[in-house]
């Protein structure tokens, strides 16, 4: 139990559970199953995007990808256009979305590496370019996904009266894979080493620039993937489909126990934090609170959690 409490990610799950109970208190216990289903269905997108962001943030101070919302928006449009409402073209559409994300990731890295622009500026300026491309490419229209793809992204298997979203299961498997990559591969160890001390990593034989390149490319790729999946889930692509993932991708990383200073990453925490944020929104919705107040409360809660979770770590 004590060992469990020492895990930094446990607090994000505790938070999610507390908010969940708070939400149930209003409904008088009604709709718990539906809430769990909804929470997992929405949290999985934050986890996919957050995983990419986590690898980038783990590279150390200053590393962040702010182009994710634009990336997601463009990839959703690319995927829907290539699929063209035709189920046969789904794999091609996903590949195109991945490709679009990958190109964006590589573009980000080139700005950072070749032009020596700080990542925060590079990815932010990249996101303006991407957004413009998206607007002229998608013409601001909502493009519908093929019916089979939309059904797949919304597919739920009833287990004991609760609908289990199939995509959530897939993303849980993906998270396990990401944890293995982080801890047990040369790439993952290199990311952790660079985040702690980039110079020491270089002198220990870590191929620093190669790893940084791969990380920004990976983050872009995951952004592209989320774009395609979101377009399927919400039954349509749009320019602003990724907007909420700017704050969310960073919030889940930080609340989940990943160090903003780099070198320490935490994958289970991504799930806890994503569930926490989604359930919080569901709860605030069920209070019938206006959108403005909801944003204020969400912001305050994120600050509160970071302060609470950051306390004992700062004493280290």
């Amino acid at each position: 139990m004590v060992a469990l409490l020492n895990r930094p990610w446990i607090w994000s799950f505790v938070g999610a559970a507390v908010v969940f109970i708070g939400a149930l208190a209003i409904t008088g216990g009604q709709g718990a199953g539906g809430m769990v289903t909804a929470a997992f269905s929405l949290a999985l997108f934050m986890v996919v995007v957050g995983t990419g962001q986590m690898f980038v943030i783990t590279l150390g101070p200053g590393n962040v990808d702010l182009s994710l919302p634009a990336n997601i928006g463009l990839a959703s449009a690319v995927a829907m256009k290539v699929m063209d409402g035709n189920d046969v073209l789904v794999p091609l559409g996903i590949a195109a979305a991945l490709g679009s994300g990958l190109v964006i990731g590589i573009f980000n890295y080139l700005l950072i590496w070749a032009l020596r622009i700080p990542p925060i500026i590079a990815t932010l300026s990249a996101s303006f370019i991407i957004q413009s491309v998206d607007i002229s490419y998608g013409r601001g229209l909502q493009i519908k996904p093929p019916p089979g793809f939309a059904d797949f992204t919304n597919w739920q298997v009833p287990v004991g009266g609760v609908g289990v979203p199939v995509m959530a299961v897939v993303v849980i498997l993906f998270s396990i894979g990401a944890a293995i990559v982080l801890q047990r591969t040369v790439y993952g160890r290199s990311v952790l080493a660079i985040g702690q001390n980039i110079r020491a990593a270089w002198l220990a034989g870590v191929r620093v620039e190669r790893v940084r390149f791969l990380t920004y490319a990976l983050c872009g790729l995951l952004g592209g993937l989320s774009g395609a999946l979101l377009a399927g889930y919400f039954r349509g692509a749009s320019v602003d489909i990724g907007n909420e993932y700017l704050l969310a991708s960073i919030a889940v990383v930080v609340i989940g126990g990943t160090s903003v200073a780099g070198g320490k990453a935490n994958i289970p925490g991504l799930w806890g934090a994503a569930l926490f944020l989604v359930v919080l929104q569901i709860m605030l919705n069920s209070y019938h609170i206006s959108a403005g107040v909801r944003l204020v409360i969400t912001g305050l809660v994120i600050i509160g959690v970071i302060v609470a979770a950051g306390g004992p770590k700062a004493a280290r």
Binding site: T185, V186, R189, L192, A193, N197, R199, A200, A204, G205
Partner: protein, 489 residues
């Protein structure tokens, strides 16, 4: 005999435990005005912990601290400063983003109002001039731009600066470890002047000659206790080593076999420093230990880094024939991964080799860590403990293990023995020789003259150039110093 009143500090029965580790186990120590106390002991003997207690950064678990005759129960950093006790820690404590003058101001809150920056600058540069004439450091220099040796000079000088409160006692923890022989001599001469002026000094060093030559009294620590304390002239080198508890091995001339055989083995490295105007270049063959000597910061580290780069990417003027590994001397900025365990720190250079399939094998990682814990005698119950739980010298051993455990054939060492005790040093020297016999090549930048005796061949650097090229038989302190200062055409 010296009376109670002249004690600057007096510690009685001081204890400090970190979990199961008894870092200090009942230490008594006194320092009088006008006295230099030399403190020696192995890595992990408790010297640094004791100094942290004296500086107020660690509160003792048990025991009394008496300063200038009055007991101090709530002893703290600010109180220590108030009472004129200053400390130069082994891990340098300057703010890297601030200038020399600004760092001086950090210690002197009294420097306020218009022109504080100039006054702080005058204060610190004045002290630098006094201790290290010809230091070449400006008040406006940013710390991170200074070499580690110069940072150490600033740190030392800052400890001796005075504004409103007089400095009574200065603790110098390995103050010469990053200094070349010339600046180290300047510092030690200054220590004697300070002592003559009635200040107290605690000098911690692994260089026994430094201790014996400059202390009035010597205190030997082992396993968290003071084992011997006596006048310095009661000791000689052998006695001191015996008191510290290391077996003293008489060493054969290490580089005996080499020298004559030079050139028969294949060449591993050819490197020409950028500023080299004549034809001289550094050449290292298989199985050689090559020393890089000269005053600190004269291009030795730079050349090592360039050779390191050239091993990964073609570089004009360099020829590197085998994989390299680097042993950092400045372990905080170049070596240690602070969030990781000892095992992870040792293994990072070998992660690719420890894979089974695509994944790093935890068994192989544990095997490697344990094998090198034994080989390097890293003092820890568990290699999964955080690297920062180790004393400085043991962290350095872990960095050696990282390089030696790897597949590297060429090992580049950047003054790697900083803060390492004499017993460990002798073991590492033997290990280096053993590995060289197996065919590894070592490039060894060192600021310690003794270590050059372990090299087959020594290149002396000055202003980024090779100015002398000495065979093992020819390496003497005079020769190295002579070439370090000689003007070349």
């Amino acid at each position: 005999m010296v009376g109670q009143a002249t004690n600057i500090v007096r510690l009685d029965g001081v204890e400090k435990h970190f979990g199961a580790v008894r870092a200090l186990d009942g230490v008594d120590l006194r320092v009088d005005a006008g006295e230099c106390v030399g403190l020696v002991g192995h890595n992990g003997a408790g010297k640094s912990t004791l100094m942290h207690v004296l500086a107020g950064t660690l509160a003792p678990g048990q025991g009394r601290i008496t300063i200038a005759g009055s007991e101090q129960p709530g002893y703290s950093v600010s109180l220590a400063h108030e009472l004129g006790i200053r400390c130069v820690f082994q891990e340098l404590s300057l703010c890297p983003n601030l200038t020399v003058a600004e760092n001086a101001r950090v210690m002197h809150p009294g420097l306020t109002g218009i022109g504080w920056r100039r006054r702080a600058g005058d204060l610190i540069v004045g002290k630098l001039d006094e201790i290290f004439p010809g230091h070449g450091i400006g008040a406006g220099d940013v710390i991170s731009d200074l070499s580690i040796g110069r940072r150490q000079m600033v740190e030392v000088a800052r400890a001796f600066t005075e504004t409103d409160k007089p400095v009574k006692l200065v603790i110098l923890d390995e103050p010469t470890s990053s200094l070349d022989a010339h600046s180290a001599g300047q510092l030690l001469a200054f220590v004697r002047r300070a002592v003559a002026n009635g200040q107290g000094i605690i000098l911690i060093s692994h260089l026994l000659g430094e201790i014996l030559g400059n202390s009035d009294r010597v205190v030997v620590m082992r396993d968290g206790k003071v084992v011997v304390a006596d006048r310095a002239d009661a000791f000689d080198r052998d006695k001191l080593v015996a008191a510290m508890g290391a077996e003293h091995h008489e060493r054969a001339t290490p580089a005996a076999a080499a020298g004559a055989a030079r050139g028969e083995k294949p060449v591993r490295i050819r490197a020409r420093p950028e500023r080299q105007s004549d034809g001289a270049e550094l050449v290292a063959h298989q199985g050689e230990v090559i020393g890089l000597a000269g005053l600190a910061g004269h291009g030795q580290t730079r050349l090592l880094l360039q050779i390191f780069e050239a091993a990964y990417r073609r570089k004009a003027g360099f020829e590197v024939q085998a994989p390299v590994a680097f042993v950092a001397g400045d372990r905080q900025s170049d070596g240690v991964f602070p969030l990781w365990s000892i095992a992870e720190n040792v293994g990072i250079r070998s992660i690719a080799a420890m894979r089974k399939g695509l994944l790093i094998s935890p068994e192989r990682e544990a095997e490697l860590a344990d094998a090198w814990r034994q080989k390097m005698k890293i003092r820890t119950p568990d290699m999964n403990n955080p690297i920062l739980s180790l004393s400085g010298g043991n962290q350095q051993k872990a960095l050696f293990a990282r390089a030696l455990a790897s597949d590297a054939v060429i090992i580049l060492m950047d003054d790697p023995m900083r803060g390492v005790d004499i017993g460990t040093k002798l073991e590492v020297y033997d290990l280096i020789r053993e590995e060289a016999l197996k065919g590894r090549t070592f490039l060894w930048y060192t600021t310690e003259m003794d270590e050059l005796q372990n090299c087959d061949h020594v290149y002396v650097f000055r202003n980024g150039r090779i100015v002398a090229d000495l065979r093992s038989g020819e390496v003497t302190e005079e020769k190295v110093i002579q070439s370090s200062f000689k003007e070349v055409a």
